[in-house]
Amino acid sequence: MTFFEMTKTALRTILSRPATILYPAQAAKKTGLSRGHVTIDPARCISCGTCQRKCPAQAILISKEAKTWQIDRFRCVVCNSCVDTCPVKCLFMDTQYSAPATAKGVEVVAITYVKPVKPPAGKTESTG
């Protein structure tokens, strides 16, 4: 049984810098793998709906008619499932957390992808 067991630790703590950081004045620690929030490149999304089906929290909704991709940041659990399964790799994981909000709502992104028109077979023959 000993006494003053913490003296060494206490002295070191007094003499060293604080273990905490002054967030938000100082940026929070982030690594390259940190899961912050999901972002989309609307120019590449083919509206296949895989992300919507694979979302365990049902946070993503795709409308093929309106050509929109929407996400409910309050439902999203940032599991990376949509990013992993996207066939055209148009979803990305940003390392920063999504910003705080004062009202609940969904974020709607207009999909700007245009299906490339295949040149007619006959035309290539005539030019060539």
Binding site: M1, E5, A10, K29, V77
Partner: protein, 359 residues
């Protein structure tokens, strides 16, 4: 006969991290009986299994607990892999073991902090949590999540750790060991702490066994049960000694957890040394048809996942039995006959995780 009164303890109580309600039947200051009630944070995870594809349910299973999340996800995946007869690559098994042991470090350090808080040693609480931050940093660097790792999937793991990073982690363990040694010295040798914990909340070996205690609660009473000895993951290829103590009081449970910290760092070192190169996942096709019970050792004790599939993408039944649920009857036994002022320390000594319990 002394007049009996009932004092409610919880669900809102400064010492409780999560809500559980205990009706303490008192005779003067002595607790004679305890009536527990749970059900304040039921989330219906087991029902959700019918609405989510079995591959996506991994993420849901992981969110059962905010502390031992990786082990929940892993146990669920092992169940599915056993039903579908999937051979998980060796490297993935080792990585799962490494993350499981880091989870244990994280959980035990968190618990040591909360325990110090329960007996009023705020400074020690902050020190334990500062050390825990190192473990969380490793999690974030290797999986991307500090608390919910999300790195386990059916058929393996979602990301690999490079061998350079593994070496760096092994070096970090030395620093961690040194800091934890200083911390556990206070818990185990300091006169005031020892005085507060010795002979408080005693449960005999027989009582612990008969009431179904698991994990450090059972091992603190001398019941040598540890699911890691089943050899799931890479545990079968690693060498470790089960930590037990025979006194069965709060100090014993603290001692078991303190020593397990070093057993965990040792296991991680061994795993890093032995980890083979190779793929970390296999492709999974089809759907599970059958049922399986998986058992794994969580930081708090034995965890059981029961899974039943019918050949479709949606499972029929999932049942999760968490260690805290089975540790409540031993807790009642410990509380009977104790002083009212000792109740917070005894409740914390089983490491209650109520969110787990109610799923």
């Amino acid at each position: 006969m002394t007049k009996q009164i009932v004092v409610p303890f919880g669900p809102q109580h400064p010492v409780l991290p999560e809500p559980i309600h205990l009706d303490l039947v008192l005779e003067d200051e002595r607790v004679v009986d305890v009536i527990p009630s749970i059900g304040y944070i039921h989330r219906g995870f087991e029902k959700l299994v019918e609405k989510r594809e079995f591959t996506e349910y991994t993420y849901v299973a992981e969110r059962t607990c905010g502390i031992c999340s990786f082990i929940h996800g892993m146990t669920y995946c092992v169940g599915i892999e056993q039903i579908m007869k999937i051979d998980v690559p060796e490297r993935a098994q080792y990585l799962r073991t490494i993350w499981s042991e880091y989870s244990r470090l994280h959980s035990h350090l968190l618990w040591l902090g909360l325990f110090a808080d329960s007996f009023g040693f705020e400074n020690l609480f902050m020190n334990a949590w500062r050390i825990r931050e190192r473990v969380l940093d490793v999690f974030e660097q290797t999986t991307g999540g500090r608390v919910i790792q999300g790195s386990c999937k059916i058929g393996g793991v979602r990301r690999d750790i490079t061998n350079e990073k593994l070496d760096e982690m092994a070096k970090g363990l030395d620093v961690l060991d040194r800091e934890m040694q200083e911390l556990t010295n206070v818990f185990l040798h300091d006169a005031t702490v020892k005085h507060r914990l010795r002979n408080v909340g005693i449960i005999s070996r027989n009582d612990a066994y008969m009431t179904g205690a698991v994990g450090p609660t059972a091992r603190g009473s001398g019941v040598a049960i540890d699911m890691r000895k089943l050899g799931y993951g890479a545990y079968g290829k690693l060498n470790f000694q089960m930590v037990t103590d025979s006194c069965g009081d709060c100090y014993s449970r603290c001692l078991v957890r303190s020593k397990e910290l070093f057993a965990s760092t040792d296991l991680i070192r061994q795993a890093i040394k032995k980890i083979p190169d190779g793929p970390v996942d296999v492709k999974v096709t089809g759907a599970p048809d059958g049922e399986y019970f998986t058992r794994a050792e969580q930081p708090r004790g034995e965890l059981v996942h029961y899974i039943k599939g019918n050949g479709t993408k949606f499972l029929v039944r999932s049942r999760i039995r968490t260690p805290t649920l089975t540790n409540i009857p031993p807790l009642i036994k410990m509380l009977q006959g104790c002083e009212l002022a000792d109740v917070p320390v005894i409740v914390l000594s089983i490491d209650p995780c109520i969110s787990c319990t109610e799923r």
